[in-house]
Symmetry: D3
Subunit: 282 residues, 6 copies
């Protein structure tokens, strides 16, 4: 992740949650009061979020000491301590909710991704994400997919070409669309095309695109379509795949299966924050 992006985002998240000030803790605790906050898993799953914990608390209060115990992408059981942060209680309580909201989401995504990856068993087909991410959190969520063992599809509209039905209809054919693209784009951009039937797959193969997507096809269809594509072209299954129907697509011979649900519908992984004031700590 780009540190300039996650720092800027974390700052705006803290402004959103803290607002003018913490009317509870700033009134009840003196500035000198210290303690320790421990993040603990309340569910088993795949943890993701160390950089958020470290940078988040450091931005909030540089005098806090952060210790993390679990590497991103590690599977954790319930009740496992994830990190301990020591220092001003006011700062600990001010930062707790934003950090939790973010790492629970990231860990939720990592957990669902790992689940999908594990369901693939020894199939060479890889699991990847889509652009169906939470607005403002793409950098965090695509990182979480990687932490869970998945792969990233294109980041945005600018780093790869995706030819959909509208593009093809307007251009006249896949061949025409690809030629126009190749005539204007440089050599560092990959071209993928969405296909829905045998004719389109054959056209895409003839156009020598970099990747062919089988869009909303049944396992049976894919089993056939995939045989039409040479090894030099990557294949991707997409459209309505979730953790619940993934098994049916896991061994069809495609290179990738992309799941929007990894990011748009992953439930948060439950993580709690336990705070001890100094007196308790002693």
């Amino acid at each position: 992740m780009n540190p300039f992006i996650y720092r800027r985002q974390l700052e705006s998240f803290f402004i959103e949650d803290i607002g003018d000030r913490d009317v509870t803790s700033d009134v009840l605790f003196p500035a000198s009061s210290t303690g320790a906050l421990t993040l603990i898993s309340k569910q088993s799953g795949v943890f993701c979020g160390n950089e958020v914990i470290r940078t988040g608390f450091e931005l909030l209060d540089p005098s806090l000491e952060v210790t993390t115990f679990i590497p991103d992408g590690a599977t954790i059981a319930e009740k496992v301590p994830i990190a301990t942060i020591q220092g001003s209680i006011r700062s600990l309580l001010k930062g707790e909710r934003v950090i939790l909201n973010l790492i629970q989401r990231m860990s939720g995504i990592a957990t669902v991704t790992r689940e999908a990856v594990d369901m693939m068993g020894d199939s060479p087909t890889r699991i990847c994400d889509t652009r169906k991410t939470t607005p403002g959190l793409r950098t965090f969520e695509k990182y979480a997919v990687r932490a869970g063992g998945g792969y990233n599809h294109r980041f945005g509209l600018d780093d790869a070409v995706m030819l959909k039905d509208n593009h093809i209809a307007f251009a006249g054919s896949i061949q025409q669309a690809v030629e126009t693209i190749r005539g204007q784009l440089g050599h560092m951009v990959k071209i993928e095309v969405e296909t829905e039937n045998e004719a389109q797959v054959k056209e895409a193969v003839a156009a020598e695109v970099d990747c062919i997507m089988f869009d909303n096809r049944t396992p049976e269809e894919i089993l056939h379509l995939v045989t039409l594509v040479p090894n030099t072209i990557t294949t991707e299954i997409s459209g309505g795949i979730t953790i619940h129907n993934l098994a049916a697509y896991s061994r069809l011979g495609a290179d990738y299966i992309s799941l929007g649900s990894l990011t748009h519908s992953a439930p948060s992984l439950d993580i709690s924050a336990q705070v001890q004031s100094e007196e308790d700590v002693r």
Copy 2:
């Protein structure tokens, strides 16, 4: 929603997704090419997001014409048209994904909230949210909870007091904590206290707090605790309630039930975007 907040956020979301430019559509479609994009539900649920649709496409390209068909909070069936946007195809395709990502999330939250509200039947107990929202999207998500028929808990750390175990332990007692707060905060801030047993509830009642939360209590416990609280104090059930166990809490006589899951784990409502180029439209 504050227009200055959602405009600023929408701008940053478009920068995140579009990056330098749309390498597919900007190359394939001429600037003069027009068409229509229709947003259509792919699932039944509660729709939420008109302001996002209108403002989002207008910020992207002021010449686009946006027509919306469904009021926020309305229940929609599958395959219902939600909005149509007409104008430059390049702009339609550039804006589609960001708008979908946001309204699918908002509609997902509104749908789960409505589900919870409906499960309450004629119980006077209200459903409310928490601060467990997606970082950066609190304004959007709290709006979606309202659209679904739920109520908002405090927005952030600055608009209401929430006394938790740490605060009470440090202050010495609920009474002490409330006195300290009342000694320093003005008259426009409500005070809620988390309680876990009869003694705490009684102490909170004696301290005349504005709201008492029964934190992580069983339905049986709550049934008893709620009788200890006079009508002048609001009661709230909280802790681990989801759509799945909500029924057990729906008729215990509390004023509110708060569910973090409304915002942190609501799956997106599936909405698709169908684009027709001008030729098709004619």
Copy 3:
């Protein structure tokens, strides 16, 4: 105060004042030249601004050493040293004016607030502020009111309800307005209503609002109106009260008196900055 807000604001204030660079000090002093800047009161009053001094100079140049002598809210005589900052002379002279402009304003507000509080003597009525703050400085100014011994009214339009004549007229009655609000807002938001006569006060009492404001009423009127309100509802005197006519309102039995003049018309407290270059310091 939320550190993310005051840091961001201080940065923009320094950009406003320094512009491209300090054409005087950057030319005359070598980068290695050091010295000490001492902030000294030129008037007696109530000081407020330590966080601004510390964070402001630290953001400007992390190598500066800041020592502060006076706690926020302390009464100071004339010619009292408030803080000393040591390090690069260029940095000291670059930061001086912005810091002075801000702490003079904050101290001016704290001083007027204290004056108002002192005028109340042993009256239980509290002094509070309004939303009539300097745009961009609300967090700083509301903090200064607290430092002066005053209380904060609502922070903005989002954290409490204030029913004014337009709202009531449109709703039909105070009762109607309150019912509509209670029907849509959650339990963590207080409701205040502006009243101008006995009938309205009685209506507000019947509606069980959280707070009743006597708006632009004479002391005589208030003396009567306040008797109509039970202890469970907070009362607030407002409208045209300044330090000059405050005495007449101090013992009427209301809970709060709000003064816009605390923030919109408080004169700055005069504080000077004396700089000694290293040679002098020795």
Copy 4:
């Protein structure tokens, strides 16, 4: 004023005041409800702020219609209508406080400036401001000084040189300091020097600076010092001048008198906002 600066600032001011939303008006008024807001003076004084009114309400809601009646800098009596804004009541009530806070401050500054200017009678000496402005509002406040008939001193540290005692002490002499500056700065920057006695004034004259400030001098001293300065050099009286002691300095023959109090301690001019809903308007 630079439109890019005041637009950006107005946006941040609205975010500060509105926060998540207006919990009162957004709930009580339907989106379709319209009305008119009229800004009316409650005191006589000098009005300033048309651009803020027009741009502020337009940014908030482009469908509002703004009509202004009083040019910036005009003297107004009590109860004079300043502007009328028509459209959505929600928008009118959302924008009212921010606009009032800003134009009351600007008009307060314009009023005090005009007062100072008027006290000068037919004296050729001009009134000017300083850098003692409210952080974040310099562009607005310097504009208000001009509207009141005053002149602007330098905007910030980058557009003119101001040699103070520290600079002179370090350089060794005024002559030395000026030579160093002239050796390094280009021809488009003016040089002013603060002087406290006859020797310094003579030294400054010899160094051919652009402007000589008599800093914290008595009227008697200035009467003498001013005779030492040729017409080709501008003279400025500064230090502790307020509206209360200005008369004593008005006819000493200097070119400018600068008053920090114009901006740091001007009380707001009282302006009220009267809102009529559509029904009333008819």
Copy 5:
């Protein structure tokens, strides 16, 4: 170009140049004074910048009318009118310099790019840019390269892999580096490798990278190296190529030649702004 990026950048450019206000034109011209500004080429070259002209003046003052005459990428002679903007003279003069600075730079880049493209004659080798762009202007400059007939290399560090000597040394070999990359990155990212000799080229071919760069090689070396690469892999000549030595590389059979000098050292194309006030216009 992404409109959200160029709008945001244009705003910050105007703030940089205008600062507090235009002390010349705002004083001399009344707000109602109108006129016309015509942008005219002072040199022949390739024009680029219509979007900057249109959006820049519109952001500055929405009432200005902009008419453009020359499409981006068109070759223009000396003294050709490029665009006319009509409206407030204050706005015309306020915007002139920023717009000129930007379109002169963009046109300078387009002109050098076209010159390079023209030197290639009927060679199939394409001209492309690098990441050696002006910080903050990459979107504008890469657009200008396209307008001149060139192609874009990767936009930044995130949209394509570039293996340099350090990466290869650390990984152990090109093969190893590529395997590690392929093991962790998804299918939508291209991989290029810098090579300096026959062994490396062969290794890269064996690793089936997407693109092989001949880094700082002589024309003779390249003539040989290019024969080692199959058609399925793109080849790129890079390192020290400028418009002056380009000819020697134009017909070596590579697919691309990249020139950092297109963006880091292109002189501006001279364009002037002629302003006529209304009186002249009649």
Copy 6:
């Protein structure tokens, strides 16, 4: 340079170049891998950019150690080490390109400026810049001009008056324009007027402006015009002067020659970055 400006700009430059992350180095190097990056001149010239190197790498990764060897403005030969940065290889490779792009541009400007200054020999005429700078980089580029031995003209539209033909035509005469300006602007702003013939120069002298520009005049014309101007007024030659025709203007007796080409067309100075991983360093 104002640190708040260059920090903010450097952050946005890194976001532009790094985007989501460095897909090459973040994958190939472990986070713990360290090394050293040395910046080395590939051409002789004048170096400028230490603050950019120090602050840029520190913002990217505070654990990097930066050592610089060459003061800003020093002449360097080819192959001279400029700075060494030690620490995380990922960070070194992430920051390299942005820093190079900026210091190459700054050094290019310093080099051309020094060349111009050197061509002036012992002439008392000074070299200065214009507002023809790269949008967004004015602070950096004006600093580079100073590092090269040149002087800065006004920074923007707000810090000095420049009367051009339109202003004069509208005002009626130079005299009229100057009077209007003097009537409204304070004493800290210089006034320059563009002149094209003897009549205008005489008029400007009579109006006692601070500076007279000879705009687009031949050396012969200037030789005469300069004799019309008394010593108390600064003279400036401007319009179409570049390093190539500068000699003809160097000894005409004017005080300044301004060259837009210093900033709008200076080619970058070539500087390379050599990276050694830890193993090599040992």
